[in-house]
């Protein structure tokens, strides 16, 4: 009996030890940021459901009780920065070249891989704040043609006639639309129920249609996220599509429903900030650590952080 108890205690100790053994590596690590496009209906977060062109199933409702669906949702995230409580700082450099631009990410609802942004070489430390720009600022435009995410042939986010990138491209259908849409990627020109919001604008000249519609946003996490060589945490952001149309300004689909230039997109642009939110963060642990962890997890109560253990959704 005594023996058994001793064993158990020893095991427990081992468990704690392996859990406590959070090494303090000083080498830089990787952090993933997941942009999850959702619709929050009556406080409940649901995965976005996409419609096809011509569909008359209208899943969503805007702030004016007008029903609608979504055929395309795509946006640019750029110039990401992370800061921490002890002065930690990471800046994801933006650079523009033909071989491939860096620091620009195109989040596309139809491509799940695009919704994960991986930041490498993040200095070891704790982070609790994420800052990024929705859209592409002048650095990405003024040097001319660029490759990678900024390649207009593949991103389909460039305005040819008035040089600049679209920040948020939304297309869908609503029975109240006055039709007559143009320049849509997912819907036929003139499609009866089309609603098209191509929102962007990278320079500001008061009194003209040059309106700066990109948004620089910051989010503070509810926990400090540790990054180092052994830890690969993930920050989970949500983008509530519905808020595009019912934030500070309520968008009326019977009116300005075919938006293709900066000045027309101001109201939707001003709704962008509230559409993004920090949801939660997973503390990351790399594979070798995970084994260790698995062994300990059985007893290790100190690891029961908010019902989750590590970024691998371990069933604790």
């Amino acid at each position: 009996m005594k023996n058994k108890l001793f064993f158990l205690l020893a095991f427990l100790a081992f468990g704690f030890a392996s859990c406590e053994k959070e090494s303090e590596s000083k080498e830089p690590g990787t952090i993933d940021i997941n942009f999850d496009n959702v619709a929050i209906v009556n406080g409940t977060q649901t995965q976005l459901s996409m419609a096809t062109a011509g569909s008359t199933t209208y899943t969503y409702t805007n702030g004016m009780s007008q029903t609608f669906n979504v055929t395309l949702l795509r946006y640019f995230i750029s110039a990401i920065e992370l800061t921490g409580p002890n002065g930690e700082y990471f800046k994801d450099e933006v650079s523009v070249s033909a071989a491939g631009s860096k620091g620009y990410y195109l989040i596309d609802e139809s491509k799940s891989a695009s919704q994960y942004v991986t930041l490498n070489d993040v200095p070891a430390g704790e982070y609790n704040k994420l800052t990024f720009t929705v859209g592409v600022d002048s650095t990405g435009v003024v040097d001319g043609a660029a490759g990678g995410m900024l390649d207009p042939a593949t991103n389909k986010m460039f305005w040819n006639w008035n040089s600049g990138y679209i920040a948020v491209k939304f297309e869908g259908q609503s029975p109240v639309s006055n039709s007559g849409i143009t320049g849509s990627e997912s819907l036929a020109a003139g499609a009866a129920n089309g609603i098209v919001y191509h929102v962007g604008g990278w320079k500001n000249q008061p009194g003209t249609a040059f309106v700066y519609n990109n948004k620089r946003l910051s989010f503070t996490f509810d926990t400090n996220v540790k990054v180092d060589k052994d830890r690969n945490p993930e920050v989970h952001m949500v983008f509530d599509m519905l808020k595009l149309f019912k934030g500070t300004k309520t968008i009326d689909f019977t009116g300005n429903h075919n938006v293709h230039k900066p000045a027309d997109g101001v109201d939707v642009a001003n709704n962008i900030p509230a559409a993004f939110a920090f949801d939660h963060a997973f503390k990351g642990i790399t594979n070798e650590k995970k084994l260790d962890h698995l062994r300990g997890v059985f007893f290790c109560f100190s690891c029961l952080h908010k019902g989750r253990c590590g970024n691998q959704h371990l069933p604790v």
Partner: protein
């Protein structure tokens, strides 16, 4: 090469050089409004694309802010080449010789992508520098102008050079030179949506102007005589009309005698750059 290749258009019928032809300083000599695939008529006159390397903004309304971004407007415009960049790249990558040529120019390249296509076009256009006209020779002290041409130059400096200024004969700004009272083509206001820019168009360079007929954004004037007649007697009043052309005492335009018109035209012809137009590289 690419510039002269109709492969860039949907039905392989229209090349850049259809509308920007070398013999006429890279403009369209035949059409006031340019013609694209299926003979579709565009809405503006093709401007000269000489000296593009020195320009800040492009198109009659300045909507394009980098030379690289000019070609997609032609390629993807249904009234011009009516093709997508994606499809052009597919055609180029399958082509017998382009992949090799691109590889030579850009060794890091495996497949041709948009920026490289646009660089290639920009580099070609950047070579199109016209700076060896009779006027330039005169400026450099290497040649002379006739009496009439010199008088034209003086007149030009006095009456035209606020807008058509500097070595490029444009201040690169936007102005309303009194063509209309209502503006079917909003001009600069199409981009800025500001009433203050209604009917303003980019001041065009006048280099090689004797060859770039027809004139103005919609190609309404066939000859330089027509242009000067407009400045002298055809200027129409509107709220955005340039100050230089609003005159004093209710008089519009720039008064010119017929002798002065002759002198001005003599001068404008000295801006024709034969060395450029006959350059075998283009």
């Amino acid at each position: 090469m690419l510039f002269n290749d109709p492969l860039l258009s949907r039905d392989q019928s229209v090349a850049c050089s259809n509308c920007h032809a070398k013999g006429t300083a890279f403009t369209d000599p035949q059409h006031a409004l340019s013609l694209g695939v299926n003979e579709r008529q565009g809405t503006r006159n093709a401007p000269s694309i000489a000296n593009m390397a020195f320009m800040k903004e492009f198109m009659w309304d300045g909507g394009v802010i980098h030379l690289d971004f000019a070609p997609p407007n032609a390629i993807e415009n249904p009234l011009e080449m009516d093709e997508t960049l994606e499809a052009v790249l597919r055609k180029l990558n399958r082509h017998g010789s382009y992949p090799g040529l691109f590889k030579k120019a850009f060794p890091e390249l495996d497949t041709i992508t948009t920026p490289y296509l646009l660089y290639a076009l920009s580099q070609y256009q950047a070579m199109l520098v016209s700076a060896s006209s009779a006027y330039d020779q005169y400026q450099l002290g290497k040649g002379s102008l006739t009496e009439e041409e010199r008088q034209g130059l003086d007149l030009f400096k006095a009456k035209c050079a606020t807008c058509h200024s500097g070595a490029l004969f444009t201040n690169q700004d936007y102005a309303n030179n009194g063509l209309d009272t209502v503006f079917p083509d909003l001009g600069r206001a199409r981009i800025t949506e500001s009433d203050a820019d209604l009917g303003k168009f980019k001041v065009p360079s006048l280099r090689n102007v004797a060859l770039t007929a027809p004139y103005m954004h919609d190609g309404r004037f066939k000859t330089l005589e027509n242009v000067l007649d407009h400045y002298a007697a055809g200027v129409k009043s509107s709220p955005t009309l340039a100050r230089e052309l609003s005159g004093g005492k209710g008089q519009l335009g720039i008064p010119l005698t017929s002798q002065e018109k002759r002198q001005l035209i003599a001068f404008l012809k000295t801006l024709t750059d034969y060395a450029f137009l006959l350059d075998p590289r283009f």
